[in-house]
């Protein structure tokens, strides 16, 4: 079974039409956040209602399906947001909970490669709070 037909099965057939086997590109954190960080930082700095008022519309726009978690732009935006909170666990939890409510089927039902991206990115973000 191809990767995308697996996604389609997991997410109710949304991507069923695709049969091509995907070739993944491996990119480190800095390469996906760098193009977006200088755009996101000033937005987050000026939000009157907190980080939730950014991540909810961002997730609605870019993270409602599995492909968003395998795309450098949407995933870069999520990671830029997560790393901005300096590991504050309550904020990491809030961001993740908001995204979970938007993604079709929830984060835990993402295909393995997409889920791995979110698990590693979140763990890295939270780990930043453990340094003195």
């Amino acid at each position: 079974m191809s990767f995308f037909s697996s996604i389609g099965k997991a997410l109710g057939g949304a991507l069923d039409t695709v049969t091509k086997v995907a070739d993944f590109i491996k990119k480190p954190l800095d390469m996906i956040t760098q193009p977006l960080q200088n755009l996101i930082n000033p937005i987050l700095d000026k939000l009157p209602f907190g980080i939730g008022s950014f991540i909810k519309p961002f997730a609605d726009q870019f993270l409602s399906s599995a492909v968003g978690f395998l795309a450098g732009g949407p995933l870069g935006g999520l990671m830029s947001t997560l790393t901005t909170v300096d590991g504050a666990v309550d904020k990491v939890d809030d961001v993740l909970h908001t995204v979970d409510g938007v993604v079709n089927g929830g984060i835990s039902n993402l295909p393995a490669e997409a889920l791995s991206n979110v698990q590693n990115g979140t763990a890295f973000a939270q780990a930043q709070s453990l340094f003195s």
Binding site: K26, F49, F62, G73, P74, G76, V89, Q126, A127
Partner: protein, 103 residues
């Protein structure tokens, strides 16, 4: 080599993380046991020079699947920054629409 130091010994951090309600919630959202998630957090804490590496699709594949490219995300962020897209206090403040009075 990074000079960053941990706030506490690893065993104490592990104990704190395992008992933390937010960490438990995050693990659940990610479909992991709290124990497995905490070990992943501690891995990055004990390897401060290691950053996550992500599995990504080429832009052409992303577009074919209806996803957004980096340029499209940048364009959206520019619109937010310039005020063309408003991140309003109503719809996104708490995720609920204001209730309408009953007739």
């Amino acid at each position: 080599m990074s000079e960053r130091k941990l706030k506490k010994p690893v065993d104490e951090l592990r104990k704190d993380l395992l008992a933390d309600a937010h960490t438990q919630s995050i693990a659940k959202t990610l479909g992991m046991t709290t124990e497995a998630y905490v070990e992943k957090v501690l891995h990055y804490a004990t390897h401060p020079d290691e950053k996550p590496v992500f599995n990504l699709l080429p832009d052409a594949e992303v577009k074919a699947q209806g996803g957004a490219t980096v340029e499209e995300v940048k364009s959206w962020l520019e619109k937010v920054r310039s005020g063309k897209i408003q991140l309003g206090p109503k719809a996104y403040q708490d995720g609920f629409e204001p209730s309408k009075p009953k007739k």
